[in-house]
Amino acid sequence: MTQDATPPGEARAPRESPFDGPPLSLEEELAAARADPEPGPDIDTVNESLADGLNRCPKCGSTDVRLRGSTEMLVCLFCRHQWQEARVEEEFGLGVGIDDLEGTVVAGGAEEISGDDDVITMTCGGCGADVVVDTAHAMNARCHWCRHTLNVNQRTPNGAVPDAVLPFRLTRDEAVEKIRAFASKRRLFAHPRFKKEFVPENVLGVYLPYLVIDARAEAAYVGQGEVQTRRWTEKQGDNTVTYYAADVYRVDRSVAFTVDDLTVEGAADRADFGAGTTNNIVNTILPFDTKNAVKWNSSYLVGFTSEKRDLDVADLQPVLEDQLLSIGRSQVHDTLAEFDRGVRWEAEKVDVRGSRWVSMYLPVWLYSYYQENTRMLHYIAVNARTGETMGSVPVSQPRLIAAALTVGTVLEGIAGWILVATA
């Protein structure tokens, strides 16, 4: 069900610059008038039932609406009515047609980011006041005059509004417990300062931007494989040496496959998996049950922070191809059993026949700890749908080295004892 209320006022689009260049010449004006209209997105996912600005409860009209995590539904805090948006999987046919995908199909929320202004100004439909929303961190704001909740539902050119949102399922208390349990298993060698400053209650619910991709591809691989034909041992002094004989083959494999809901990071800060970050932690809590994502409604974000998408489809094509190559390699792996001495792939290619890109906000409970001496930001992240937890706990190097030296010394002692005993 979707709400069908119409807000009393019209929201204003992001404010334009008062000066937009010199006036056009007559020829330019005529050319602009004759030009074809701008092509729309391949999949239009705009939630038409919501006007920009006020998301009203369909029963009582209140804008005090937020997500109720235990039911994954929107709840009106005024009359307690609950409802939810439609699943995008059925609404936009995202679960079908992957076998027939051609070219690059991009949903409206995944289109190229053309604006970099995070701050948009909206006019409150309740009282007419101008309210500023910083879309880099939030998609809702309360009008400071009349307390209405204003929502960013209109497609913005800065990548802040996705096609779909997957609501939080895990409550904050459940997330805190999971983070506490994760850290408590890693106390002995944890950095003393981390142990002292660890406050899991500081966990933050954040919607992170991802691009969810359906793709149809063909991958091909060429390499060498070896099959053992004989094995024998020869005496060399007191030692026996094992020798092998083998046939060497040129091996090629190709496979056509489709992938459904491959999920990649849509923010550059999260997509950097370099040694100086712990972004791999957030990556590890994938996958999400993206099939349950619902149409965009910024009321799902009330009370949570959000991060804005800043990567386009073009930026992520190499990431898609890389992941498709890996998937293809895993698919052909089972056909290599005959090469008992192994296979060395030397060349590969992937032909992406078709892909469909949808942008989504996915829910993460995130605890972060900044380690000052190494300037490293450590994350403990909880998948707010499945509960999968992963983290990075700063270590005490002296304790770790002491433990390693203790084990090494014990082993060396045993080795010395054996050598003396057998001498």
Binding site: Q224, S326, V343, R344, V393, L411
Partner: protein
């Protein structure tokens, strides 16, 4: 581990193997603990955790040569299980 050390004493190189047990154990302990705390090696296993529908794999093999005598027990540079190690891209 101790069993392996005892087994290693059967050859001439046994003393070397045994003396390396201490440093090797120390390094292994350090790295296993470090990885347990920091999880630097973890990432999303999209090859396994994504819905994939594949056609039957096509391919063939062609014998190119024979190795009649080698001490190597397997092929050099086996990367068949390391799916994320990229090799030369063909266009």
């Amino acid at each position: 581990m101790i069993g392996e050390i005892l087994w290693a004493t059967s050859g001439d190189e046994a003393p070397l193997w045994l003396l390396a047990a201490g440093p090797a154990g120390a390094v292994a302990t350090y790295w296993s603990l470090y990885r347990y705390y920091r999880n630097t090696d973890k990432s999303h296993a999209y090859e396994r955790d994504t819905l994939i529908s594949a056609q039957p794999v096509q391919g063939h093999r062609e014998k190119v040569r024979h190795i009649s005598r080698t001490r190597d027990s397997d092929i050099d540079g086996d990367n068949s299980s390391n799916h994320r190690e990229r090799v030369q891209r063909l266009e």
